[in-house]
Each structure stands twice: as structure tokens, then as C-alpha cells.
């Protein structure tokens, strides 16, 4: 059975299932013959079996199902009415099919059973009125109630082959009848021979069902070897295993602290079993990628015809498994990439001939596991992508400037096709222009923690490499510390760890303007300080002794994340965050650590975007590019330097009307906002710390006696911005970097050797003023 062809195996499983359903349907149909839906379902089942066995070369099976199908089609068309005799014949067909399937399963052949009598009967029943005749024969007194089927069979067939058929079926039916007698003691013995078709049919059905259950337990090992399980159950199992993994982690930690041999040994065992269980449950959710690919030949064929191209699709690694949630998620991106290759990649046959290539283009799909990831390659042997053409296109579309483009390497140029609003198709066909661009493909793949990369050789072809994780539920992660908390970094993004000590810290980290960089084997690695990105106080602030750099990969850029400390790698269970936290793109989720506490999982891509590590180089987003463009120009500005919670902020002085020092008691509340009586008016006050979301800052400056208020004027109205201290006013060259940009903060710049955050005063003020102005203006107008 092991060497059974996959196709046959699937055919058997599917057919057994279908037959079970079909039997039930036949019974329903007999009760209420006018259910077109049921008839259609029966018809489809038989038709499917017929089609498949014809394809697989089982001619006997095909012949039998063919007549059965004919009979069903007449019933479906209403040419004949289903009655007991027909139902019997059809049920017998089911049995015969079952028998042959069993033979196929065990011996690989249909077996030598002779079904010509059944075929003949089915053929005869095709004629309207034929069944009454059979009915009449069947109800002859000779028929014994306990052997209804065997009796009906030879008589109604009325041909010479009757005997062997009866013999073949009889042996099976002896068991069936015993069962029937046991299961249906009323129906079987009490059915008098002269009764009409109803009780007889009941007896038949009973014995049939008994037979089918008998045969199922005896011979349908294939069907038994796989069961259908509801996905919800698998998901629940997965969750439970996740919990178990956490408990295991906790116990592992606990066992380390306790010196107990027995506990150690048990923990070891628990560890092993849990790991295996986790793998096992994960496998239950795995599906071969072939389930997605199976739709592609048709897509390619249709598309090739529309584009008047010739394409041969080759697939390798169909059986590569990945989690079912991922299967769903990659379906669309893959289809789009394949379409793209056919539409844009492979040339017309004439062009191919002219280029000395086979007129038939080859589109190759490859899938394989590598390093805990699934790699999928989509390669065509078409014209390839010309970087120059992409350059021109980007210029024409005004996506990037010539200067920006001239700085780009070939790989970066190729990646331009993932820019929103970028399409290289010479003409918009019905294939492209569906509103799904390559940028969406990239986004969708990245959403599931995958990457897509592109290689192209002009004239030789293009290859898309998609890498996705095996599963999203449990991932290996590196645990780092920052500001007293732990954070998990998915291992997929991790490249290496660098630890600098003493002199290395001082000499190793250099600055290009305000941006810190580290030379990693001659390459400049931009550094991102996690505590700054997260806006948290870190004990190593200002400490130059040790620097832990976690080298990460986001998109195709590398950057170094500076953290307070590096702990272990651990398998973590990814749990989603509530919707209150969805907006924080720096976090991918949360997990529960060995000690039961929650740790946040960093979203490396989101973090990189927030820190603007990738946007500048890669120009993912037009607006980002333009922003960084304008910020590069820089100019001199007069800045007011203030401190909030010992952190420096700068406010453009041009926006400031006055600086005031007021007693803290002057602060009063109106509605949601704090206000101050100021120059005979009520002035709303925004707390800078609260607006820029700096933690550890209370909403009021309650514990101070004196508060500093920066007064801002707009249309004759004053708004105050409360800060801790006012430090200085400087005239500085502002080279604004988008580092730390968020609501209320334009970005960062270096002032007097310190990085300060530049406040977007309009944004800060609007958090209080828009509301209050709105509320008060109508009143003012009325007064």
C-alpha cells in the first residue's frame, strides 16, 4: 500500500467518503424522490468517480459507474422516477464500486468480480416502466425477507450471468444479512414477501448499511488512516501546546535553580516530549504548498493564451509543507508573481526565436525548506528586467529624482518595482492594472514575516525569491533587555551580536552628523538605540563601558540595535496585542516569559521604519523620501531649548509669543483640559511631556511650585505649553533627522553636541486648542 500512487490514494479516500454520503443520499432520495439537489449530488459523486477511474485506467469500474451515471442522469432529467428497484440497483452499484475500490487498495487492481449482470440491470432500468416489472418480480412469494437483495438481483436482471454475480455478492451479503438481522430485527424478518416496496427497501437499506460498515472496518485502511478534523480543533490544540511550551520554559528555569536529580531528569523528559508534541501538532496544521500551486497551471495557461505566449510551467517541491494560515496568506502574492512573470517576464515566441531561445518560455516554481523557513522561487527565462528601464520609469513617474537614482546600486534599482505606483508594463493589459501592484505583494509577504527578493539578468530571466516562516505561532527569538524590561526579537531578523567594551565603545561608534554608525567589517552599520526609539530611560545612558549591538536585517538593510543587555534565545509563543496597541508599529505582539511575565516582541521592520533606517536608502514611500529630501537641505533657526523630564527638546522660537513663569497653583481645569487665567483670558495649557508621549511624566506638573509655560499665539488666542525648565535660546544649523518622529515631534537634530527632539508646536497646541476654540468660538460669536 505504501507504493500506491498518491493520486490513487487520494482517489480512494475521496471515493470512500463520497460513497458514504451517496448511500445516505440515495436513502433520502427514495423517501422523497423530488429533491433535485440530492439527485444532483449523487450524480456528481458518481460522475467524479467515473471520471477519475477512467483517467486512472480502471475500465471495469468506469463501465459500471458509466451506466449508473446514465441512469442517474435520466432520473435527474425526470425521464424516469426513482423507486425501490432503481434505488436497490444503485445501492448495489455503490457496493460494487466499493468492492472494486477495496481490491484496488489491496491488490492494486479492480479484481475479477463480474458486474455485467448489474450493468445489464442498470441498462434495463434506463427504460421507463422497467422498474415496475422488476418490482413485480421482486415481490414474488419466493423471495425471502431476509434475502431481499439476492433475490431481486438475479430475477430482475433476468440474464444468464445472474448466477456468478449472485455468488460474488452473496458471500458478502451473508455477513450483511446477519448484521441486518441483528440490527433490524423488526424490518428483516417481518417483511412478508408479498409486501410492497417500502418495507423491502427498508430491509435492503439496513443490510446495505450493515454491509458498508462491515466493509469499512474490514478493508478501508486508507480511509481509516486519515480523518478529517475541524480546523478550530487544531487551532485550539496549537494554543494549548503554546501554553505547554510556556509552562515547560517556566519549569526549565525553575529546575535550574533547584538541586534535585529527579526533578532534573523529569524536566529533561518533559522538555523532549513537549518539543516533539509541538512539532507534531505543528505538522497537523501543515499543508503542502501544492494546494496553492494546483491552481497555477490554469492561471498560466489562460494568461499565456491571452498574451499570445507559450509557457511551460515546471514545479518542484510541491510537497513542501507550511502552516495552513500561511498557505492562505501566500496564495494571492504567489499568484500575482506568477502572473507577473508570464505577463511581463516571458517574451512572445517571435521575440524569443529572434533572441535565439526556445519559443516556449519556462516558468519554474521551486519550494524547499531551509533554515526553518520555506523558500519559494518563481523563475522565468524571459527578457529579464533592465535596471535602466526601471530608472527611466521612476523618473517619468516622478517617484525619485535623478540624483537619488544615480546613487542606487543595481539591486536597489531592481527593488524599485516594489514601489507603490510603479509598473513597468508597456501597456496596461487586463492582467496588470488590476489594482494589485508589486508593492502589495511585498507588503503581504512581509506581513507574515516573509521577505521577497528579486534577481534578474537581462536576456536570461528573472527570479523572485520568497522566504516565509514555517509557522507564525511559535518562533525562536532572542531576548534582550532595555530599561529594565525584556523584549523578544524574532530570530529570523537576527544576523549577529556584537559586544563592544571599554575603549572599543568610545572609538568604535562614530557619528555622521547626528547619526551613530559602527564599522562592522568595513561596512557602515547604522545604529539605532532601542531606549531612544521606545522613549524609555535606560540605566546605561551615558555609560560608555559596554555596548551590545544586535545586528538585524530589515528588508535588505542591516542595522544595529543597541540594547542594555542580551539574554538567551528562546522559543516564544506569539500572542496578539489588543487593539489599543495596534498603532504601535514597533511591536509585533507579546509573549509570556518563563517567569510568567509578559514581554513585548519587537517588530524589526516596524522599528526600522520608525527609526528611518530603511526608508532613506530604499525609498519605500514617496512621502518619506520627500521629507528626508527637504530635511537634508537644513537651515539656520533660532531654537528655544527646554527640558521635560531631563530630556532636551527644541521649539522653533519663531512660533513662540512669550515665556512665562507661573505658580503651579495657577493651573485649573476646564473640561478635559488644564487652563490658566492669563491676561484676563482663559488660556488652555498643553503638557509637552504628555503630548509627545514621554512616559514617567504626569499630566500635571503637580510636584513643582513653579511652572514654565511657553505661550503660543494664534489668531489672537493664546495657548500655553508647559515644560519643566527653559534652558537656552540658540541659533543653530538645523539638520533635521526623522529619528523619533511622532505626533508632536518633527524629528531630531544636534544642538550643542546633544541630540534634541524638535517640537512640532502646531501639533502640540492643536491637541488642546482645536477643541477649546471650537467649543468657545460659537459662543463668542453669539455674545
Amino acid at each position: 500500500m505504501d507504493d500506491l500512487d498518491d493520486v490513487v490514494q487520494e482517489f480512494l479516500i475521496e471515493s470512500y467518503e463520497n460513497l458514504d454520503q451517496l448511500e445516505r443520499d440515495l436513502v433520502i432520495l427514495e423517501e422523497s424522490p423530488n429533491e433535485p439537489e440530492v439527485i444532483a449530488r449523487i450524480f456528481r459523486t458518481i460522475h467524479t468517480i467515473k471520471g477519475t477511474c477512467g483517467f486512472l485506467g480502471y475500465s471495469k469500474l468506469e463501465a459500471l459507474t458509466h451506466v449508473g451515471e446514465n441512469l442517474l442522469s435520466r432520473i435527474r432529467d425526470g425521464a424516469i422516477q426513482l423507486d425501490g428497484a432503481i434505488a436497490t440497483a444503485l445501492l448495489k452499484t455503490v457496493d460494487a464500486v466499493r468492492e472494486m475500490l477495496a481490491n484496488i487498495e489491496h491488490v492494486g487492481e479492480e479484481g475479477d468480480g463480474d458486474y455485467s449482470a448489474l450493468v445489464a440491470e442498470l441498462t434495463r432500468l434506463l427504460e421507463p416502466g422497467a422498474s415496475e416489472e422488476a418490482e413485480a418480480q421482486a415481490s414474488e412469494p419466493a423471495a425471502q425477507a431476509s434475502e431481499p437483495v439476492v433475490e431481486v438481483e438475479p430475477r430482475s436482471a433476468g440474464v444468464s450471468e445472474a448466477a456468478p454475480v449472485a455468488a460474488t455478492i452473496e458471500s458478502d451479503f451473508e455477513q450483511a444479512i446477519e448484521e441486518a438481522a441483528a440490527q433490524a430485527p423488526v424490518a428483516a424478518p417481518s417483511a412478508p414477501p408479498t409486501e410492497t416496496k417500502v418495507p423491502e427497501a427498508a430491509a435492503v437499506v439496513d443490510s446495505e448499511e450493515a454491509f458498508s460498515s462491515e466493509s469499512r472496518s474490514g478493508s478501508t485502511a486508507v480511509a481509516d488512516s486519515s480523518i478529517r478534523v475541524h480546523v478550530d480543533l487544531l487551532d485550539k490544540l496549537m494554543n494549548l501546546v503554546g501554553e505547554l511550551v510556556l509552562a515547560r520554559n517556566q519549569i526549565l528555569q525553575f529546575a535550574d535553580e533547584v538541586d534535585n536529580q529527579a526533578l532534573q531528569a523529569t524536566t529533561q523528559r518533559l522538555n523532549l516530549v513537549t518539543t516533539e508534541l509541538q512539532e507534531g501538532v505543528m505538522r497537523t496544521r501543515m499543508q503542502p504548498i501544492g494546494t496553492v500551486w494546483s491552481k497555477l497551471p490554469r492561471v498560466v495557461r489562460d494568461l499565456a493564451r491571452t498574451c499570445r505566449k507559450q509557457v511551460r510551467l515546471e514545479m518542484e517541491g510541491k510537497e513542501t509543507g507550511l502552516d495552513r494560515t500561511l498557505i492562505e496568506a501566500i496564495k494571492d502574492p504567489l499568484t500575482h508573481l506568477v502572473r507577473n512573470c508570464v505577463d511581463h517576464g516571458i517574451e512572445r515566441p517571435d521575440d524569443r526565436r529572434a533572441a535565439g531561445k526556445d519559443p516556449v518560455g519556462v516558468l519554474q516554481l521551486r519550494a524547499y525548506h531551509e533554515g526553518g523557513q520555506v523558500n519559494i522561487e518563481i523563475a522565468d527565462d524571459g527578457a529579464g528586467i533592465s535596471p535602466e528601464k526601471l530608472k527611466q520609469r521612476a523618473l517619468d513617474r516622478g517617484l525619485l529624482s535623478a540624483e537619488q537614482l544615480s546613487r542606487m546600486g543595481e539591486r536597489q534599482l531592481l527593488n524599485l518595482i516594489f514601489l507603490p505606483g510603479f509598473s513597468t508594463a508597456e501597456q496596461v493589459t487586463n492582467v496588470s492594472g488590476r489594482g494589485v501592484g508589486m508593492d502589495v505583494v511585498k507588503t503581504n509577504i512581509e506581513r507574515i514575516g516573509g521577505t521577497v527578493d528579486l534577481h534578474s539578468a537581462p536576456g536570461k530571466g528573472t527570479t523572485f525569491k520568497v522566504k516565509i516562516p514555517l509557522t507564525l505561532a511559535i518562533i525562536p527569538a532572542l531576548i534582550v533587555r532595555c530599561g529594565g524590561e525584556r523584549y523578544a526579537i524574532p530570530q529570523v531578523s537576527l544576523l549577529e551580536l556584537v559586544r563592544l567594551e571599554g575603549e572599543q565603545v568610545r572609538s568604535g561608534i562614530e557619528r555622521i552628523q547626528s547619526a551613530p554608525v559602527y564599522r562592522l567589517r568595513g561596512q557602515l552599520l547604522p545604529l539605532v538605540y532601542l531606549n531612544q526609539e521606545l522613549g524609555i530611560e535606560s540605566p546605561t545612558d551615558g555609560q560608555d563601558e559596554i555596548c551590545n549591538i544586535v545586528v538585524l536585517q530589515a528588508d535588505d538593510r542591516q542595522f544595529g540595535l543597541v540594547v542594555d543587555g542580551v539574554q538567551d534565545t528562546e522559543e516564544i509563543v506569539v500572542k496578539p496585542l489588543g487593539k489599543q496597541l495596534k498603532a504601535a508599529s514597533a511591536f509585533a505582539g507579546a509573549t509570556i516569559m518563563g517567569d510568567g511575565r509578559v514581554a513585548l516582541i519587537l517588530d524589526v521592520l516596524g522599528l526600522a521604519q520608525q527609526a528611518r533606517v530603511i526608508s532613506e536608502a530604499q525609498a519605500r514611500d514617496l512621502s518619506e523620501v520627500l521629507e528626508s529630501e527637504s530635511s537634508e537641505r537644513g537651515d539656520r533657526q533660532t531654537l528655544l531649548l527646554v527640558d521635560v523630564n531631563q530630556r532636551p527638546f527644541a521649539i522653533p522660537l519663531s512660533k513662540v509669543a512669550r515665556l512665562e513663569e507661573l505658580p503651579a497653583t495657577a493651573l485649573e481645569s476646564v473640561g478635559t483640559y488644564d487652563v490658566i487665567q492669563y491676561r484676563g483670558d482663559i488660556m488652555p495649557v498643553a503638557h509637552l511631556g504628555a503630548v509627545v508621549n514621554h512616559p514617567n511624566i504626569g499630566s500635571g506638573g503637580g510636584d513643582r511650585d513653579v511652572m514654565h509655560v511657553v505661550v503660543y499665539s494664534q489668531n489672537g488666542r493664546n495657548v500655553g505649553v508647559a515644560v519643566d525648565t527653559i534652558r537656552d535660546i540658540v541659533d543653530e544649523h538645523v539638520d533635521l533627522r526623522p529619528v523619533g518622529r511622532r505626533n508632536g515631534v518633527l524629528g531630531s537634530t544636534v544642538v550643542q553636541g546633544r541630540v534634541v527632539e524638535l517640537i512640532d508646536l502646531d501639533a502640540v497646541v492643536s491637541t488642546v486648542s482645536s477643541h477649546i476654540f471650537e467649543d468657545s468660538l460659537p459662543m463668542a460669536a453669539g455674545a
Partner: protein, 153 residues
């Protein structure tokens, strides 16, 4: 026949609040929390509720009340929402009270902005007022902020 409701009550400063008892999944003592940087400070942190990660909303901060004293640890009222359980941090848990629909009233217009927004109704009890919390609004920290942005633009 008057309809009565069971209300799980709690204290927040000198205010007396309640939520429908059916919406309360459980009430817990202070739980260790993992702070979430960057996001709104109304989100005090994440707690581990038997393997489920639950966001803890600081109701004091949500109602723009001053933070409680250092030593005073908040209690958790874990409520069911469409987005899974969310924990509301309160000063102290009160009794479950049976209240009569008769003494229900809509919140008076003189309440402070945020209070009016987050209180769906008021029960007049003997000697005190019971404010019924609009849970969906109370836990919607994102919506509150984005609305401000909307008015700016």
C-alpha cells in the same frame, strides 16, 4: 415590576463606578504589568492572565485623574469586550449591587467632558451616585487620540 440589574461596583478616587456584572469576566488583585513604551500612557501595561495577554487600562489616567499614590496598588476588573478581555485598573473593588431601573438617569450635562463621554448612565442610590461606565469608550484609547487629530486636520 421593575427591571433590576446587577452591577459590579468599584471606586476611582472619590467617584463610585459600576459595570454590568455580565460584562465582568473576573476581578483580580494587583498584577505585575509589563509597560508598553510609545503608546498612550492610559495603557498601563500588559498582564498575563493565565496565558492570555491582557491590556490594562488605567482608568485614573483615562478619566484624567491624578495618579494614585506610589504604595496604592490598583485592582483589576477584567471585562469582556469584542476584542477579547481588557483589564480596567481601579482603586478598589466594591460590592455587586442590585439596582432598580427606576433610579436610572442619563449623566448630567455638567459633568466634565471626559466623564460625560465615558459614563453611559447614572443610578441615584441612597446617599451616593453610581456612574455606569461605558466600557467600549473607556477602553478605546486609540479612538480618542485619533479624533483629536481629525479635528486638527
Amino acid at each position: 415590576m421593575h427591571e433590576t440589574h446587577q452591577i459590579c461596583t468599584f471606586h476611582l478616587g472619590d467617584l463610585f463606578f459600576g459595570v454590568e456584572v455580565e460584562k465582568v469576566q473576573e476581578v483580580l488583585r494587583y498584577q505585575q504589568m509589563t509597560p508598553v513604551p510609545i503608546v498612550s500612557k492610559v495603557v498601563r501595561g500588559l498582564i498575563n492572565l493565565r496565558g492570555q495577554i491582557v491590556t490594562a487600562i488605567d482608568l485614573r489616567r483615562r478619566f484624567l485623574l491624578p495618579d494614585a499614590d506610589e504604595g496604592q496598588l490598583p485592582m483589576n476588573v477584567v471585562v469582556r469586550t469584542g476584542d477579547g478581555p481588557v483589564s480596567l485598573l481601579v482603586d478598589e473593588i466594591g460590592d455587586v449591587m442590585e439596582v432598580d431601573d427606576d433610579c436610572i438617569e442619563s449623566p448630567p450635562a455638567t459633568l466634565r467632558d471626559v466623564t460625560r463621554e465615558l459614563v453611559s448612565s447614572v443610578y441615584k442610590l441612597e446617599g451616593k451616585l453610581l456612574l455606569i461606565l461605558d466600557i467600549d469608550r473607556a477602553i478605546n484609547t486609540v479612538g480618542g487620540e485619533s479624533r483629536h487629530h481629525a479635528t486638527v486636520n
